[in-house]
């Protein structure tokens, strides 16, 4: 417990420092009434964490079991601290709502309970998107350095290291590379969004502010937007194309980025995740567009591209940007399309990326496992059937990898079932409930209208749990529960 607590408090100081960043924006926009809120939140964090570090100081290194619990608790700890400015400025109705948005930000989900986005202080609006960028980078670090060491995860570890390092040194080294790549694409996105915004007729100031925020949300596949209309504010195809490019890039595996940016461009065509996502995205676009076209909702290819494909890509990459009003989804698109959208939301983006869901590598591995079993059934009993997949390097598909992938997939489906049941029990219809739950579990952010400040409190807590568990791919949550149960048992025995 001490080693976890000590590391949590050390990490908390990072959050304390991050809470000071929006002050720069507040000063620029002369929001002097907002600055005290960030100063109080930051100072309170520093006080709490420094006292914690002092009393919990230890030289013990974290083992994997500690690291998993640490990762799980970090998200909760960060949520509680990051929620303070949302609540104290009145941007959300209650501290629970503030926690909802903080968790949604850190887990790059994008569901929001903020009241009146269009009249939010610029600094708070920036803060929301900044949380998503930090959360997106953070999850890549976590999945590459902690999660990948667990046999069950089947998410292959970052092979950029020449030798196997302990957890802490590899976190530091890997973080630097991840941050470098993230900032590169974020800056590229900000420049493109700003240029397109100005050329499409928005003011320079608005374009720059929106450009930075949309880029942070796009690369982190977060889905927060500086306006209540989300992508519809600009009514612009070029703007949506830039968004598509950035959030598709954000949904790719970090190890894929590292390989391609290091010269291995053939990875683009050979990588199992890219192939899997390409197939599932293409198929879902075909089905969704077909359904919407033949039910006369949309009539031209431009409409299908901007609405059907954009929403499908947004759902599949777990981004959550919308080009359709949420209330139109149930009334106009219908339950068949909503079901397919729910499915692709749960399938998710690539592993080791800012995206959520089951992850493309597991989907690809599960699909290949099925083919392998079918081959086995058709071959003579004495035949030796092997299957392999390419992810940076060619790897044999072992039973361990297949089992790990299926276990995580079952975990997600279980969460999805629980979330849908809880939502339906609150009186919402099944189709909307499935859509909203898939959005929370897959850290997507698209909404059918259920997520609102008027939502029942128990449902808010449920969705906070789903966003958290989905982000941590359930494993870290299970490790934490195991730790807690063991601790309780020891306590009872004493």
């Amino acid at each position: 417990m001490k080693v976890i607590g000590f590391n949590l408090c050390k990490f908390g100081n990072i959050i304390g420092a991050l809470l000071l960043v929006p002050i720069i924006v507040a000063v620029f926009y002369k929001e002097f009434d907002i600055i005290p809120h960030f100063l109080i939140a930051s100072s309170a964090t520093f006080i709490l964490c420094n006292v914690g570090i002092h009393f919990l100081r230890t030289t013990k290194e974290m083992e994997l079991k500690h690291a998993l619990c640490f990762a799980a608790l970090t998200w909760i700890f960060c949520m509680l601290l990051a929620a303070i400015p949302f609540w104290s400025t009145g941007s959300t109705g209650s501290y629970l709502d503030a926690n909802f948005d903080a968790m949604s930000g850190f887990t790059t989900t994008g569901l929001s309970l903020v009241r009146d986005i269009d009249h939010l202080p610029y600094s708070i609006n920036f803060y929301r998107h900044f949380l998503q960028f930090v959360g997106g980078v953070g999850i890549i670090v976590f999945s590459l350095t902690i999660l990948a060491r667990s046999e069950m995860s089947s998410v292959l570890a970052f092979k950029g290291e020449a030798r196997e390092l302990g957890i802490r040194p590899s976190i530091v080294r890997t973080s630097r590379i991840i941050l470098g790549i993230a900032i590169t694409f974020m800056v590229l996105g900000a420049v493109l969004f700003t240029a397109v915004g100005i050329s499409e007729g928005a003011g320079v100031g608005t374009s720059i502010f929106d450009g930075v925020n949309y880029s942070m949300a796009a690369y982190s596949t977060g889905g927060f937007a500086p306006h209540s209309q989300n992508m519809l504010f600009y009514h612009s195809t070029p703007y949506e194309v830039v968004a598509l490019a950035i959030f598709l890039i954000g949904s790719f595996n970090f190890t894929f980025h590292y390989a391609v940016l290091g010269g291995k461009r053939r990875e683009i065509f050979k990588n199992i995740e890219i192939r899997t996502m390409f197939i599932t995205l293409t198929l879902s676009t075909l089905v969704i567009s077909g359904l919407l076209l033949f039910s006369n909702v949309y009539s031209s290819s431009a409409m299908l591209f901007r609405k059907a494909f954009f929403q499908a890509a947004s759902a599949h990459t777990t981004t959550g940007f919308g080009t359709v009003h949420p209330a139109q989804i149930p009334s106009l698109w219908g339950s068949a399309v909503m079901f397919i959208m729910s499915l692709i939301m749960v399938l998710g983006a690539c592993a080791n990326s800012t995206g959520g869901g089951i992850k493309a590598i597991r989907v690809g591995v599960i699909a290949k496992s099925f083919f392998r079993e079918i081959k086995k059934a058709l071959m003579p009993k004495t035949a030796w059937v092997t299957e392999k997949f390419h992810h940076i390097e060619t790897t044999p598909l072992t039973d361990t990898i297949a089992r790990g992938a299926m276990l995580i997939a079952v975990g997600y489906i279980f969460l999805f079932a629980v979330g849908t049941t809880v939502t339906v029990l609150h009186g919402y219809n099944t189709s909307d409930s499935m859509y909203e739950t898939a959005s929370a579990v897959g850290n997507v952010g698209l909404s059918s209208g259920i997520t609102s400040p008027a939502m029942p409190a128990l449902l808010k807590v449920t969705y906070i749990f789903l966003m958290w568990a989905g982000r941590l791919e359930i494993m870290a949550v299970l490790a934490l529960m195991g730790f807690a149960i063991l601790g309780l048992r020891r306590g009872i025995k004493k």
Binding site: L244, H257, L261, G263, F278, T282, A308, A313
Partner: protein, 50 residues
Amino acid sequence: MGLRKFSLREFLKKNFDFITGILSEVGLTALIMGVALAICLLLVFIKSVF
């Protein structure tokens, strides 16, 4: 003062893989969008014929 002159050619040479890598990834997203657009056009064509 000993400051090196910035040479674009040298910068591009040194960061060739990085820059071409970014262009490749952007190209991949363009390919994905292109395929999606082709699907949309095909569907509209099928509907107009039938």
